[in-house]
């Protein structure tokens, strides 16, 4: 309406833009690259754990199939996004090893959750049992990585 009102709106928009942009700021120093690695590992942990929970519920007949499908598909998409985002960040010199290690871990997570999605959609008990073990193994690796990085 009047200039102060417009100014406030501009401030708000800028603040919102800053808040959103913070989520995809490329890493600069080694510390922030480490932080990015930790964040990615933890985010992947959340998705893998969700998939593991869904598989467990499916195996015990405690979840509706479409619901399980939706949950695990969403986790698969999210895990893929986490892996892709982490891979796209330029590592600082000396952190190439970290990138490879975390990258391969995230790739394992992506595979496991993908297998979970396939097993859930097929509603195959054998596949569900195998994928449960795969997810448990990936979870252990992710937890170890989280502890050693964090």
């Amino acid at each position: 309406m009047s200039v102060p009102g417009g100014g406030r709106l501009a401030l708000l928009t800028t603040a919102a833009a800053l808040a959103l942009s913070g989520c995809v700021t490329p890493a600069t120093g080694s510390d922030s690259y480490h932080d990015k690695a930790v964040t990615s590992v933890r985010a992947a942990q959340s998705e893998v754990a969700t998939a593991a929970l869904t598989v467990r519920l499916m195996r015990h007949g405690r979840i509706l199939q479409p619901y399980a499908d939706e949950t695990v598909t969403a986790s698969e998409t999210a895990t893929g996004a986490i892996a892709a985002t982490f891979a796209s960040v330029q590592p600082p010199a000396g952190d190439d090893r970290l990138r490879d290690d975390v990258g391969s871990l995230l790739s394992d997570a992506q595979d496991a959750v993908g297998h979970a999605r396939i097993a859930v959609r097929r509603a195959d008990p054998g596949a569900l049992r195998r994928v449960a073990a795969e997810l448990a193994s990936v979870t252990k690796d992710l937890t170890r990585a989280d502890r050693s990085l964090g």
């Binding site: 808040a19 989520c23 942990q45 929970l53 405690r62 619901y67 939706e70 999210a78």
Partner: protein, 409 residues
């Protein structure tokens, strides 16, 4: 007997209608990250909304006018316009989130993508607002929303250490892994989710829709003072169920699907089906309420005939606003924006808009011109003023916290 039935219906509808997509998502998200250490915010928020809903309900019952209707009279057309634009913006954002929530609920049942549901859901919401009686909308979705009681049952079934839960809830300290700004950011978000601005304006307009008079004040009070707190209990139950299942597993909530998983853990398929019914009722009901609220605010600011208590033919501009809002909301959702992300922002912006929406209610409820002998008593004014300070603090803190915590990351 009939009066008792009406009172009971009112209370049950208030409980079932309390939770919307903002409460569902925010409570589940907070429970998974913070356990019950933010439960006190829900309590504070529920008391706040009770205080102001009672005031705005009383305004409708005594003056026959809705609260927002009177805002322009008391604050003038310019401040009234600022108020209108701010509340409309937040309410429209919430409307978008609710319609998205309905579409997500359908996706969970059918595996058909949410985007394909958007046009259907928007059309259904508009159709209900066009044709269905106001009381039917309120009662149907309110009672259906009681399905969310399944979350309280789930908490019970999960067999938690009640002593530990109580200790967590009554000793609000931020978890070691989270920073203080993040804790405060989610406190503001939860506060905004509990004290949704549209709720009190809707409650007041609903009172006019249903033709409340002074004799209805007691019934209105029982709805508010019994119904809303019990609805708040459901909110805390969602957070508790989430905490019990997700906190040990390290799961962070970012989808509606995850919100229902604790119920599946505790109660299997039957519980999950009830949760899905609850999701649908909560989101569809709230979509109707927010849609109507946009129409109410515009109509009441400009003095148009508004409401579903007259034929659409008699309130053409009001129904035009409903139609345009629905089309607009569908348009926003069809840009493939994530409804959960929209929800997360809508609750924080709700907190931002709270002072503008709550201050006028306090002013109007104290005005003997409209209220006669029913102006605020000392308790209402004391609580009202205290909450006004609180909402200003939350509002001022909202944007800085959002920037510092990068929207809670």
């Amino acid at each position: 007997m009939k009066k008792l039935f009406a009172v009971a219906l009112g209370i049950l509808t208030a409980i079932g209608g309390f939770v919307d997509i903002g409460d569902l998502v925010t409570n589940a998200l907070v429970g998974a990250r913070f356990g019950l250490s933010l439960a006190w915010v829900v309590v504070v928020g529920v008391v706040g909304i009770c205080v102001f809903a009672e005031m705005s309900g009383r305004v409708a019952a005594v003056s026959g006018r809705a609260t927002f209707d009177l805002v322009r009279e008391r604050l003038g057309p310019r401040v009234g316009l600022a108020n209108l634009l701010a509340s409309m913006a937040v309410t429209l954002l919430t409307f978008v989130a609710e319609i998205g929530g309905v579409a997500l609920s359908f996706e969970l049942v059918t595996s058909v993508n949410e985007l394909l549901w958007i046009p259907l859901v928007a059309a259904a919401v508009w159709l209900v607002l066009w044709r269905t009686k106001f009381s039917v909308i309120e009662n149907l979705f309110g009672l259906m929303g009681l399905a969310l009681i399944v979350f309280a049952v789930a908490v019970w079934q999960l067999g938690p250490d009640w002593g530990l839960l109580w200790h967590d809830a009554t000793h609000p300290t931020k978890p070691g892994t989270e920073g203080l700004p993040t804790y405060l950011y989610y406190a503001v978000a939860l506060f905004g989710a509990a004290m949704t601005p549209y709720e009190v304006f809707f409650f007041s307009s609903g009172g006019v829709e249903e033709g409340w008079t002074e004799r209805d004040i007691t019934t209105m009070r029982s709805n508010v003072l019994i119904g809303f707190p019990l609805g708040g209990v459901l909110s805390v139950a969602i957070a508790a169920a989430s905490a019990l299942v997700f906190l040990p597993a390290g799961i962070e909530v970012s989808t509606l699907a995850q919100v229902g998983l604790p119920v599946a853990v505790a109660m299997g398929k039957v519980g999950l089906a009830a949760a899905l019914l609850g999701f649908f009722a909560a989101t569809f009901g709230a979509a109707c309420e927010t849609g109507l609220s946009v129409g109410y605010s515009i109509g009441q600011y400009f003095g148009w005939q508004w409401g579903k208590y007259v034929r659409p033919h008699q309130a053409a501009r009001f129904h035009l606003v409903l139609l345009v809002s629905t089309v607009l909301a569908a348009g926003v959702l069809l840009t493939t924006v994530d409804p959960i992300k929209v929800t997360e922002y809508s609750v924080v912006f709700s907190a931002l808009a709270l002072p503008l929406t709550y201050f006028p209610i306090l002013v109007v409820a104290n005005d003997p011109d409209y209220m006669g002998r029913h102006t605020n008593g000392r308790l209402s004014n004391a609580l009202g003023s205290a909450y006004l300070v609180l909402v200003v603090v939350a509002s001022v803190a909202a944007i800085p916290l959002m920037v510092i915590t990068k929207a809670g990351m």
